[in-house]
Amino acid sequence: MLVRLAGSFFAELSDFCNGMKNENYLSIINSIEDYAVFATDLQGIITTWNSGAANVLGYEEAEIIGKNASIFFTNEDKIKGKPEQELAIAASSGKAVDERNHVKKDGSVFWGSGLVFPLYDASSEHVGYTKVMRDLSERKNAEQAVIEARDYFKNIVDTVREPLIVLSENFIIDSANKSFYDLFKVNKKDVAGISIFNIDQGHWDDPRLKTLLDETADKGESFNDFELRYDSPKTGRRLLLCNARRISGAKSKRLLILLAIEDVTDKRTLEQQRNDFIGIASHELKTPVTSIKAYCEIIQQQLLSAGHEKLAQMAGKMQVQIGKLNTLIGDLLDATKIEVSKLQFKNEIFSFNQVIDEVVEAARAANPLIEIVKETTSTVYIYGDQTRTGQVLHNLLNNAIKYSPGARQVIVKTSSADGFVTCCVQDFGLGIPKENQERIFERFYRLTGDGRETYPGLGLGLYIASEIINLQGGKMWVESEPGKGSSFYFSLPLNNDNAL
């Protein structure tokens, strides 16, 4: 019997499908391991089966011949009448092509392509169908993986609060995330295919931004933190920080630039408010402290003149406490200034030894029971802030005395080498456990245990001290052993020629 089929492969295939015992065709069809090729009668009953079909669908020839091909359809498709529809389309159109889920013998489902052709005998009578199927699971999985990856990144991009925008040639907007549309109050269709410099009535048209984007496009040079003052009726006055990268891949010739925009308007306003607060707090807190301290001094003087020595002593103690309160206010303000990078340094060349002499003398006067030993090298000069450097040493000396109950000695040593002067303040007090040594320079960190709960403080002193040293190009560290004491070190770069 001869069967007509479209296409040369299927023309030859038709012989096989019509049951011709041509060994050559049979061997060809059977050699196709990746394709299921089988024939059915008009009702869809399977009449032939190749080895590829056994591979793809899991049935051996002997067990599948005589069964209806609808067995490979999912129940859902069967309910929808898909097997019958497929045959009907093939009969009326000459072929039916589709991709759908198919069911294997073991019940597992795979994504496969199917081509169904009608079979005709020599007298052009429609006698059945042939179906060629391929397992497309891998392709489907790969496609699914691509879709999932795209969705995954799209979700990330849409979740990012920073507006992101991708520009193609001539800075045409290729795509943008939700935050971009939200911030600039535009719709996707409003901006698609339009140059960024033409959207929102040209408010993006900043010559400096254009130059930077040109360089990114031409030379691949990225830029960071470009400040764009954006002011449009839609957004109001905004301060935007823009970062850009060329993201075109090596294989793709297409130019793509990712522009990330950070709206720092509120952040900058908040920073300004914090800075204002520093100034106001400094004034508002220190003003009453000033008058209390001065009144106290007058009272002490009056009491002494009137011969009330004990009361005068109390007034003196009050002054010491007011001094501590003033230091705490100063520490809080310094910590706030460090936070907002507003700690100012009055840099000059100064004698480091002179700072040590002054701070040590003040500490000796305030702590007559402690022997403060000074072991300094010859005079060294530093370019930095003399007052702030003195503040650091004052803090270290105070800590050394505070955490050395019962100890009688504190040593201040200096040495210089390799362009740096190193100062060490050594005490013989409580010491610091190894595990806490790195954290003691953190803001608000306070050591606990071993009776330290009784020591007052905000946990700011070492933080401020180490920041002052770091900001002057030096470093601070500690060596300590519990029960034996601590040595706090800081190093600072010497002035160029170590001279005034």
């Binding site: 004034h283 008058s291 301290k293 009144y295 003087q301 003033n326 100012q344």
Partner: protein, 123 residues
């Protein structure tokens, strides 16, 4: 008998005005207090020998007052000492031409010492 030196203290905080007055009067100065809202230096009879001026006043900046005084041909020789809780008082004083500065909180020794030495320099 030589008349007492007059110090004009300009500050918007009443407690500061009060306590500074006590300290300076104890040292034999005559104190003219001013809350910073109406500074007039036209009357020769009450012309101070020195002005102690707070930097942060309500509604007006002490720096501006100091700069204006130093820009005036008539008043530029009148010594001005700035006092403030601002940690940068040294630089502030230098930037507006003040003759000295006192950081808040202060003690009597520093306050009186600074005023005394400034007056001496001006003689």
């Amino acid at each position: 008998m030589r008349s007492k030196k007059k110090i004009m203290v300009i500050d918007d905080d009443e407690a500061i005005l009060d306590v500074v007055s006590i300290m300076l009067e104890q040292e034999g100065y005559e104190v003219i207090i001013n809350k910073g809202n109406n500074i007039s230096l036209t009357n020769k009879d009450i012309m101070p020998d020195l002005i102690l001026l707070d930097v942060r006043l309500s509604g007006i900046d002490g720096r501006t007052i100091c700069k204006n005084l130093k820009a005036s041909e008539l008043l530029k020789s009148l010594p001005v000492i700035l006092f403030s809780a601002n940690a940068d008082i040294k630089e502030i004083a230098a930037s507006c031409g003040a003759d000295g500065y006192v950081a808040k909180p202060f003690n009597k020794k520093t306050l009186v010492g600074t005023i005394g030495s400034t007056l001496q320099l001006m003689q």
